[in-house]
């Protein structure tokens, strides 16, 4: 714990801190470009210069200088001021003066810092360097003349993403950032370099020239494209969501966001259901709300009602539908659309118990049936961190390209019961062993086998719970907490032959099995569910309603409404409330607050933000016989839900990055 002084104020900093971190602890702002908390230290922008005694009588780069006992650091001296002015002048020598046409304008580190620390005018009257544009794929727009060579993007792709896509070619003044042979960046987190870029060299291609940051309304929300529940900020103008950016939450997404979560926004305005539709003579025809509710009233299903929840619905919607079904006398609720039927009596057995932050500390990890990069890219980042710290990773399932060293144990899930010796030795020796069962594993009895595995290798020990289930759907844990699970899965619903099926944005269900039912689809996109429906009621997407989401580690999080739903679409709970009237029953709430209060009264854990806590793991079943070949459910990582499928950006990502189609670039 070295003691030092910053601008005359004495303070103690943690061992291993840098001078820059010491200055921050003292409340001093240090300008920087290349330094980033989550990346390795490069020390090449020189913007963080400070004066340090003892040491050479010159300014030193604080980001790369360890804080030591007795240092006297000045951040306010004349030397520091002149050094910053000098560095800034050098950086601006080759930086174009195109702020008015630059998308980074208004949220540009270079702009802000040159205002705060620059000298106001340039003395440079030679020609500026110009750099040709580099193609980086459909998501990242490049204007490489603006690049100041901080190498954050290079370090991100190498250290966090783990794919070595981006590099710095040539040298000195001619250094250029590029992907290999200007190929598209294909990693599922590639667009995070847009946030990392301190200047306008890497900007968002779909968002190019759309808006200025000060025009946007910023709403705090939760990503629903997977079950990680990344914290996001929805930037909207008027009635349109223009972009989605990640928020910092060290427990969940650190400060990254998947490309899918970030760029599905243009799907929010396309293929939207903006008026009710009724199936008349086998064909969907536009209707009014009154006609739609009249049609629902005519169904008169009695208690023969089932509710199927989709992957992106919030807890309030599911609770409102549960109340409606309950008022009609039914408890046929299911959210696992594709037919999974694992046991949900103890939620600890279907939860990511280690937590995302905790899995970083695991030292032996067995992944059973999960293509983590597709299903939870941000968890993969954590696994990479664990592997970098020395964790041994084993995977049961078809091979996929891991971003860390991993051993594949074959496609057959039966291998869990008779592990190769090296694997069992690794788990016996491990101090913090963990298992992660994915959806494909759960489909083949992976959860029961995993519980047996957890007992055998004592995955639950003092301060450590190594049993994890990695879900893919954002609604899953919330749905399970609200009872959206039948013992036999969706097969039970099919067997019950309900007269009316209420589908809450459920687009992955095989509706051919419900041929005898009236299907009322409440959702926001004209996707597979709406195609099969008899009554389509237009509802709100996740940006258009307040909602509670529970991520796969059982973390309760709240999202806020950013914009209004388009056209005649309404928030889901109001539709369900009106349906109750049409069906002549009472659900017991008339406002969103009353609904939420009723939900919290029934499931108190949904009332507090943070980990819900499901208690101890159940005992493993006595006889476990996992068998079958694992097959990952996600065939196309960019088109996994209705919003993505409607999004031109995601369609192009799918076509170009996964299926190798080429697109001609329009000249600017």
């Amino acid at each position: 714990m070295p003691k030092l002084t910053v601008d005359g104020v004495e303070l103690e900093v943690p061992a291993g801190a840098t001078v820059l971190q010491a200055c921050e602890l003292a409340g001093k702002e240090i300008p920087r470009f290349c330094y980033h908390e989550r990346l390795s230290i490069a020390g090449n922008c020189r913007m963080c210069l400070v004066e340090v005694k003892p040491g050479p009588p010159k300014p030193q780069a604080s980001c790369a200088l360890p804080a030591t006992e007795g240092q006297e650091i000045r951040t306010d001296s004349e030397m520091v001021r002149k050094a910053r002015e000098g560095v800034m002048e050098f950086l601006l020598i080759n930086h174009p003066l195109d702020c008015p046409i630059c998308d980074q304008g208004g949220e540009c580190d270079l702009q802000d810092q040159s205002v705060a620390y620059g000298r106001g005018a340039s003395r440079y009257d030679e020609n500026k360097r110009a750099v040709t544009e580099k193609y980086m794929g459909p998501l990242i727009k490049t204007v490489m003349t603006r690049c100041i060579h901080c190498t954050r993007c290079v370090r991100f792709s190498e250290e966090i993403a783990g794919v070595d896509e981006i590099g710095a070619l040539y040298r000195g003044e001619n250094m250029q950032i590029s992907t290999y042979l200007e190929g598209a960046a294909k990693h599922e987190l590639s667009a995070n370099v847009i946030d990392l870029c301190p200047v306008g060299a890497l900007t968002s291609r779909p968002y190019a020239f759309e808006a200025r940051p000060w025009e946007l309304k910023k709403t705090l929300s939760i990503d629903v494209s997977d079950a990680v529940g990344a914290n996001i900020r929805v930037d909207s103008r008027g009635r349109e969501v223009l972009r989605i950016l990640p928020r910092v939450n060290d427990d969940v997404n650190e400060e990254w966001l998947t490309d899918k979560g970030r760029f599905c926004v243009d799907g929010l305005t396309r293929r939207r259901l903006d008026k009710p539709w009724l199936r008349l003579d086998g064909k969907l025809q536009a209707a009014t709300w009154a006609e739609a509710f009249a049609a629902i009233g005519k169904i008169n299903p009695g208690s023969s009602v089932a509710v199927i929840a989709g992957d992106m619905v919030d807890c309030e919607t599911m609770f409102a539908a549960k109340k409606l079904a309950g008022a009609l006398g039914s408890s046929l609720l299911e959210g696992r659309q594709t037919g999974l039927a694992y046991d949900c009596t103890n939620l600890a057995a279907v939860n990511f118990n280690t937590t995302f932050a905790g899995i970083e500390n695991a030292d032996a990890i067995l992944i059973v049936g999960s293509q983590v990069r597709d299903e939870a890219a941000l968890v993969n980042v954590r696994l990479r961190k664990a592997a970098k710290k020395g964790a041994k990773v084993f995977v049961v399932g078809p091979e996929w390209e891991t971003t860390y060293a991993a051993t594949f144990l074959g496609d057959d899930i039966a291998v869990i019961a008779k592990l190769p010796k090296e694997v069992s030795d690794a788990f016996k020796a491990a101090e913090r062993p963990a298992i992660i069962v994915g959806g494909a594993g759960a489909a083949k009895g992976g959860i029961e086998a995993g519980l047996a595995f957890a007992e055998k290798f004592k995955l639950v020990r003092d301060g450590w719970n190594g049993f994890n289930v990695l879900h893919f759907s954002a609604a899953r844990m919330g749905g399970l907490m609200l009872g959206y699970a039948q013992a036999g899965g969706i097969a039970d619903i099919v067997a019950a032959k309900p007269r009316m099926v209420i589908a809450l944005g459920a687009d992955e269900v095989d509706y051919t099995k419900f041929a005898g039912s009236m299907i009322v689809y409440i959702g926001h996109h004209g996707d597979k569910g709406a195609h099969a429906a008899d009554v389509v009621l237009p509802a709100a997407a996740f940006t258009e309603k307040d909602g509670t989401y529970v991520n796969t580690e059982g973390r309760v999080q709240y999202a806020e409404k950013a914009v209004f739903a388009p056209g005649d679409a309404r928030e889901d709970w109001t539709i369900l409330r009106a349906m109750a009237d049409a069906l002549g029953v009472s659900v017991g709430f008339d406002s969103f607050d009353a609904l939420r209060a009723a939900m919290i009264a029934e499931v108190p854990a949904l009332g507090t933000e943070g980990l819900a806590g499901y208690g101890a793991l159940p005992e493993a079943p006595k006889v476990v016989k996992p068998e079958g070949m694992i097959a990952y459910p996600i065939k196309d990582r960019y088109l996994t839900n209705a919003i993505c499928r409607a999004s031109p950006t995601m369609q192009r990502c799918s076509a170009e990055l996964l299926h190798g189609e080429t697109f001609a670039e329009a000249a600017e």
């Binding site: 794919v163 070595d164 896509e165 981006i166 590099g167 710095a168 070619l169 040539y170 040298r171 003044e173 001619n174 992907t179 290999y180 042979l181």
Partner: protein, 222 residues
């Protein structure tokens, strides 16, 4: 140097170099280089391997050699490292040629000491022979590059042609060297100044004069 870029990736390039592999001789050398480093650190040998690859390409094309994209990829695969990291190295160091060169790669030093001693005349002499900076002459014999300091300042100006340095040049002496090379002869490398051996002071030594012919113990004179 600003114009440096890899030869564009094309089907012809792939067809010509896609099957590149080290010959047994170069392969043995490459293995030896890798053995210099601990296991798992084989990437450290990347610079040597790029050089070997370039030399092997040179043997095949009878030039100094260069690094086509497929060859860079071969080296990356050989060392089990991301190809972008290899390209970074190959593009950083100017001694790796990213584009084909002629039979003789004439690298004229234009840095200050050479410039003061007449490098501009040397470049002009090259241009008069039909060379142009960054281009290979039509007969495929010459490629002219202006480079930065080669460390021969004491015998400036100098050119480096393939693996040899030619120093103390004048336009006439350069012509003599280039004519000899064109004829297939091997001119004397090093200084072209008559009577000079290496980089000793021209006009004879000015210090340690007693050491010229025999060993001399200066210690008593200190």
């Amino acid at each position: 140097m600003a114009d440096r870029h890899p030869e564009p990736d094309s089907p012809e390039l792939r067809a010509r170099w896609g099957g590149f592999a080290f010959t047994p001789e170069w392969d043995a050398k490459a293995k030896e280089q890798i053995a210099h480093y601990p296991e798992g650190r084989q990437r450290s040998a990347v610079m040597a391997l790029l050089d070997y690859a370039q030399r092997q390409v040179g043997e095949e094309t009878r030039t100094q050699g260069w690094l086509p994209i497929p060859v860079i990829e071969y080296v990356a695969a050989y060392l089990d490292m991301p190809v972008i990291r290899v390209l970074e190295v190959a593009s950083f160091y100017t001694m790796y040629n990213l584009q084909p060169v002629g039979r003789f790669h004439v690298q004229v030093c234009g840095t200050t000491p050479c410039m003061l001693r007449g490098a501009e005349d040397i470049i002009m002499a090259c241009k008069q022979r039909g060379m142009a900076k960054g281009y290979t002459s039509e007969d495929g014999l010459w490629t002219l590059t202006e480079v930065e300091c080669m460390g021969n300042c004491a015998s400036a100006p100098m050119v480096q042609i393939n693996d040899d340095n030619y120093e103390d040049l004048t336009p006439d002496r350069l012509d003599a060297v280039l004519n000899a090379l064109a004829k297939g002869e091997t001119p004397k490398a090093g200084t072209q100044e008559p009577g000079r051996h290496t980089v000793e002071p021209s006009g004879g030594p000015t210090t340690l004069t007693a050491m010229v012919t025999e060993n001399h113990d200066y210690r008593g004179e200190w």
